[in-house]
Every structure is written in structure tokens, then in C-alpha cells.
Amino acid sequence: MLTLLEQVDKGTLWRSHGGIHPPELKTLSSKTTIANFPLASHFIIPIPQVGDSALLRIKKGERVVKGQALTAGTSFAHCAVHAPTSGTITAIEQLPSNHASGLPVLSCVLTADGQDESIETITSDLSTLDNQQILKLIQNAGIAGLGGAAFPTHIKLSPVSDIELVIINGIECEPYITSDDRLMQEYSDEIISGIAIIERLLTPKRIIIAIEDNKPEAIEAMQHSLNRSELSSDNVRITKVPTKYPSGGEKQLIQILTGQEVPSGAIPAQLGMLVQNVATAYAIQDAVINGQPLISRVVTVTGLNCETPGNYWLPIGTQVQHILQTSGFKGDLSQDKIIIGGPMMGHSLPDVTAPVLKGTNCILLPSTEEIAPDQQEMPCIRCGECAVVCPALLLPQQLFWHAQAEEYDKAASFNLHDCIECGCCSYVCPSDIPLVEYYRVAKSALRTQSEEKKQADLAKQRFDARQQRLEDEKLARETKAREAAARRKNSMASADKNVVAEAMARMKAKKAAQSNTADSVAPAPVQDKKAQIAAAIARAKAKKASATTATDHPVGSDDVEVDPIDDKKAKINAAIARAKAKKAQQNNPSAKTSAPDVQVNAVDEKKAKVAAAIARAKAKKQLQADGDKTQEKVLVDNDTALATNTVPNTNKESTETTLAADTKKARIAAAVAKAKAKKQSLTSDDTEATNPNAVANDSSTDPAAESALSPAEIKKARIAAAVAKAKAKKAQAKLEEKE
């Protein structure tokens, strides 16, 4: 039993299943040498052509030169695209693509300046480069598989497993196409040196250059070049492969050369094999040795609708319409098809403005004689011809049934994914069923399904994650709320205590006031409402008093201090009362632990002032009218009361006492004093806090203070009183409403 490599050395060939022998029609374009094409005025370079992530390195309006990279990418898969000639980037926009759908893709429009100025190419000596540098050069040159699939070559050339066998694909089995044939005939040396680079990178045990036997010139040229080259003839051999379509398919070629079948869903690298196209080998050589990026390729322009069929070096990005114009397109664009690729696997181009890509190996311009008009599809007769020719050993009719019934899952169970869309089945079908079209539809439907499944899984995952997050947040919020509630409870407890203490103090004060048989004055206003109420009460009392004093008989005076006729005395008395109140006020803050009055009074200053003004005015009027000594008595009594009261009633606000006998007068006086006290409570802290005792003790020092109340001010005070009254009423109403 010979090993695989021995058999390979012997040139043993295996038979691949199926296949057809369509008319080749290669002589149409294979007779002339590869020509250069006149430069187009516009080029369209889709970005990215291969690989997904790329950054644009140029801006609109920028001038680029031939070979300048247009994209940059950080990912390993990035495959750069380059400017095919010098010129200006006039647009970067969505333009029709060279794809069966013709859907627009993002492309750069390069307007050529005709100078064809090139970047400086760096030629390198292969012996000075290491493998990584070579791979980098290949990647930067943007080399992709030129056989048609356009898979980035640098990825293919850095496999994870060892490669034992490298196959250089020079089969070119599709009818019409001769680009690889011509390339091998004319550039065999370059191809061989490209193969040498691949050999260096992968160090395979064997390299097979496989060429179909319908290209004898190419085989000969390659053989000569190989003999001339430094490559060992033990390792590298050229194998002639019998002509059959589709032996150029990767899996089919491996089967023919090694007898091994690439498993479904696997790649040849898993068998230790690698297939590269000859044109790719040429491009590798050009990139590594000449430093030339992949900006042009050999394209076969052929078909009976073409006046000058042949092979041309076409810059990548040349628009198909330019090719049509230059090569003398004889057909009618509205009727005749333009096929990109060969007649078997190619697709018709929906828009002639689309450009030539790296994978475009042929532009076929068939006349109506060559391409049969679309036949009416007839029912499948179950002849089984398609299964005979299928190179992938599938059951095309089963696939067709399921695809037609849109049972894509069942089609997939018949290994639809292994279909290489070679078109053999459609070719042999006696019912003219476009089988491959059905498979393509089924494949894209399956792909959409799997995409949707993936999308749904992702959505579910994200939905679940969100639910989890919301749940967590809710929990966190609840815990926080609970903690906050606990904290509040704690602080509330202490606050409550304060409130209770205050309430108790107020109660005590009230009691004390009652025990003194005098009107109790509201405690230093904790709230403005209280202040207002107090003011209202005071005012009401004052009013009543003033109403009655006119009829009251003045009480006889024996007090020395008071002169009944003198206004001044009255003023002094008022001042005394004020001072007393002040004193009381002074005592209170010191006794009280919490001093809410200070803050509240500040807010309520104005109102209190007004109230005070009213009280003062009233008091004055009263004094002027009476001029008796009742006031003095009251005040004297107050003096003593305060002196005694401040000690026991520490929490109490200023309390006034009156003589039990003279209630009305006393009440008036109390009101005055109360008002004063209020006023004092407002100002005592900042103005007179320093000297409370002096004021309290020495009443004779006060006239100056009282002198502020000039007769002119009385009127003002009255107005103020009116205002205050209204306010007080309002406050009262509010309070009642509240209650």
C-alpha cells in the first residue's frame, strides 16, 4: 500500500464524482497575449471589498497616487484596497456593486488625472525577510484569492495546523475563461517564484501545480519555469488533470489529486491541504518582491458580442461600461446579458457602472446565439440526471422538491450547504429547471433563518438581562427606602421629643399666665401664624380698650414717676414696658434649649413690626387720652411680676401681669407690652442683646428710644395697623379653617 505522498509523486489521479463536459469556447480569447487596457477616466473602488472592518484613510477631494492604500484596518482579517491610478477622490458614496443583486455598496470614486503616478515601490530581497514580514507585505498589498472567492490570502497562508500539501490551481475549468491560461503562458517564472514564497511560508511536503490537459502551452511553460527555478523537483510537480467541469473546484480538485474527500462543513486545511490559484501566486510574487499592491488583474473579456475578445490587465475598479466601450460591445444593453464570471457559475450584471473586483476573472458578453433564451420551466420527471452529474454527491432533485415547497429545513437535512452551485444539474436538466437558482433561494432563506435565530437569542438574552437588572434595582430601591425609613424613625423619635417638650413648655407657660390672672401672651412665635394670632388678639384687645377708655374714669395717680399730663411720661412708660418685655425675651433664649423663635421671627419680622406699630399707636392714643397712672401701676406690677416670673417660668415668653381690679386698662397695657415684647423678640438678638439689663433696670434711659415714635408717625402707624388688622383677620380665618 503506497502512502499518499508516494501516490502523489507517481502522479496518480482519482476520479471525482459527476461533472460535465460543456463546450469550452476558450479559443475565442486564448490566442492573443495579455494586453493593457486604456486607462478609464473614473474608477470605482468599493470599500471594503473583502473583510468587514476597515477605516478609510482618505478624504473626499484628496489626491491619491497609484498603489496608495485607501483603507486601514487593525484587525487581522483586514484586506486593504488601493488606488488603481493617480487622481482625485471625487466622491465616497453608495454605488451599484458588482454583485448579482446590484445593491449599492460604499465606494470611492477616483477621477483619474491621466498621469498614472505611482507610489514608491520598495523591492525587497526575499532572503532578508522573515515569514511574518512576508505575510505583512501580502496583507498590505491587499491580496485576495483571485480565483473568484476573493478570500484574503494572508489568512489562508497563516493556518493553525501544518500544511502537508499545497495545490496550485491552474485548472480553469469554466468555459470561455482563459485568464489563468494566458498568465501561465506569459508569466510562468513569476508564478513559480510566487509558489516559492508560498513554499517558504508553509513548508509543505509537496506542492502540486494542477493544470487541465486542454492547456498544453501553459503546462509546457510552467514546466520550463519550474526546471529553471530553485525549487526542488522532488517536492514540486506539475500534474496534468483531464478536462472536466468542475474539476477546478477546491474540493473536487483535492479529490482528483489525493482521493480524499473534504468533509461536509470542513476546510481543506483540516486535511493538511491548501489550494491557491495561480493568479494569486503571481500577485504574491508581485507584492513581496516588487512591492506592488494588488491593483490590477488579468480579466478575460470574451463572447460573441465582443469585438476584441482577449485577456487584459484591468485595474481593479474599472467600470464595466468602460470595458464595454473599449472592447467594442456589439449587443444591446437592454436585451443582452453581461455575465461576470463564467457561463456556469457567473451572474448577470444588473448595472454596467459596477466595477471590476479582485475576484472578477471574466466578463462574458454573449450574443443571443450563445446563451439560450430563458426556457419555460417544466415539471421534474425524476430522470436522475442531476444526481449523476452532481460533483458534491448530493441529491439535486430532493433538494429541488424541498426548496420548491419552501421546506428549507428538510432541504438542509439533505446537505444543501455542500452544494457548490456549479450548475451541472441545471445544465443537464431535460426539464430546464433552474435548479441552482432554487438552491440559492433556499440557501439565503436558511441563512436568514439562522440570522433571525441568532437575533432572537440575543434579544432574549438582553431581555432577560434587563429583567434581572430591573429586579435588582427594585430590590436595591426597597432596601434603601427601608433604611431611610429606619433612619427617619430614629431622628423622628428625637424630634418628637423636642416637639413634646415644646408643647409641654407652652402648656406650662399658659398655666403660669393663668395663675397670674393675666392674659397670657403667646409664646415667642414658633410659627408666623401664631405670631399673627397673637397680634390679632392683642389688637382686638387694644381696640376694645380704646373703645372703652373714653368713658372710663381716669384713675387717680399717686405715683411720683408719672405725670398725668405729660406725654413724655406715657412714652417712658411704654418704653419701660418694652424694656421689660425685652428683658423677658432675653431671659427666654437663655433658658430655652431650642430657639425656634429666632429663625421664625426673622421671617416674620415685618408682620411683627406692623403689629408692634399698631399696638404702639394704640397705646399712645390711650396714654394721651388717659394720662392716668393705671399704666404705671401696671408697669410697676409688671416689673415685679417679671422679676419673679423669669425665674420660675424659664420657658415662658414675656408675660404681663395686670392688676386684678382694673381689668380693662390692664388688658390694654398688656396688649401694648405684648406687642412691644414681640418687637423686641425680633430685634433683641442683634440690636439690644448686649444691654438688656440696663434697659430693664433703668427706665429713665429709655425716652430716647421711644422718641422715635414722633406724632407724625402716628398716622403711619395707623395705616400699618389697618394693614396688620387685615392680615391678622386673614390669619385668623385661616387658622379657623384649619381647625
Binding site: H99, G102, K460
Partner: protein, 189 residues
């Protein structure tokens, strides 16, 4: 007579043994959750749009497993409904919502108009909207399920549901495809 007694005794003992065995097996190999609901959920499109009247696909799957109607999922369309019908063994019924053209859409926020109210973020069932208070929001289109739920809460109506544009990668081959013609149209806002 003794034969009957023996038979009864033996059968009773056997019944006891098997009863214990079955009881043990039921405990030991108990299946957590409802396997049918899970299978149904796998079929639902997971847009989490709530058009079925349930807050998400999972609750609806559970409801179906408990006998709810299978035709309440407009995003899934007839295909999903038929699959569910197959699975739970009920007759397929027409969708309750008028089946619109099944066109996949994603939300798109006109960012100039966004006032940053975060209402759409709160509405999105799959957290596909990015943004913060008083800052512009945007939709992560890859994550958007096209459920529509963000459109209504927007106070300035700056969210559009745009159909996903077809690319060469998502393009479906069509039999007898009519060549695509490029029609210039006014760019959207």
C-alpha cells in the same frame, strides 16, 4: 381458595413495589419547569413587543402551554404560528392581527430632535437604546428587535421605524429576479 389468596397477596405486593418505584422515579427524575413552554418560547421571535398581550415572549409561551390561542404573535407571522400549531398539536388559525408585509424594521432616533427624556430607554425591552438624561439618545440597531415600544412614549416624536436596508450580504436570491434599477430618491431627514 388458597390459590386466590396467594394471587391477591402477590399482586398486592407487586403493586406496592411498583408504586414505590414509580413514586421514587417521579421524585428523582422530576423535570423542572414546563418543557412545552420552553419549546414554544424557542419558536417565538423574541421581539418582546407585547403585542400578544403578555409582557414578553416567555409569558406568552407559558400561556400557550396553558392553552392560550396561538395566533397572537404578529412579528412571528404565519410561519411561527404554524410551527407552534405543529408543536402543541392544535389547528393553525389565522393571525388575529392583520398581517402586514413582514418587513423587518429598526428604530431610528432623529438625534437633533431628541431632548434626552430617557422615556424610550425605559420602554425598550432589550436595552437597545443608549443615552442619558438631557443627553441625546441613540439606537443600537444590531440589538433593536423592531418592537415599536419606544415610539409611543417619545414626547417629541423623534423616533422612526425604518426598514432594514438590504445589503449584498442579506440579499435573497429570487427566481426570475428583475434587474434592480437604482432610483434616486430624496434622502430622509
Amino acid at each position: 381458595m388458597s390459590g386466590i389468596v396467594i394471587a391477591v397477596v402477590v399482586l398486592t405486593i407487586l403493586a406496592l413495589i411498583f408504586g414505590i418505584l414509580l413514586g421514587f422515579a417521579a421524585e428523582k427524575f422530576k423535570v423542572e419547569g414546563d418543557p412545552l413552554a420552553e419549546q414554544v418560547e424557542a419558536l417565538l421571535p423574541q421581539t418582546q413587543c407585547g403585542q400578544c398581550g403578555y409582557p414578553g415572549c416567555k409569558p406568552y409561551a407559558e400561556a400557550i402551554a396553558n392553552g392560550d390561542k396561538i395566533n397572537k404573535c404578529p412579528p412571528g407571522g404565519t410561519a411561527t404560528m404554524e410551527k407552534i400549531a405543529d408543536l402543541v398539536g392544535v389547528d393553525p388559525e389565522p393571525l388575529n392581527a392583520t398581517e402586514e408585509i413582514q418587513e423587518k424594521k429598526v428604530a431610528y432616533i432623529r438625534e437633533d430632535e431628541c431632548i434626552g427624556c430617557t422615556k424610550c430607554i425605559q420602554a425598550c425591552p432589550v436595552d437597545a437604546i443608549l443615552g442619558s438624561g438631557k443627553l441625546m439618545h441613540t439606537v443600537i440597531t444590531d440589538y433593536c428587535t423592531g418592537c415599536d415600544l419606544c415610539v409611543a412614549p417619545c414626547p417629541v416624536d423623534c423616533i422612526d421605524m425604518l426598514p432594514i436596508e438590504q445589503t449584498t450580504k442579506t440579499w435573497n436570491w429570487q427566481l426570475n429576479a428583475i434587474p434592480v434599477k437604482q432610483v434616486q430618491e430624496d434622502p430622509q431627514c
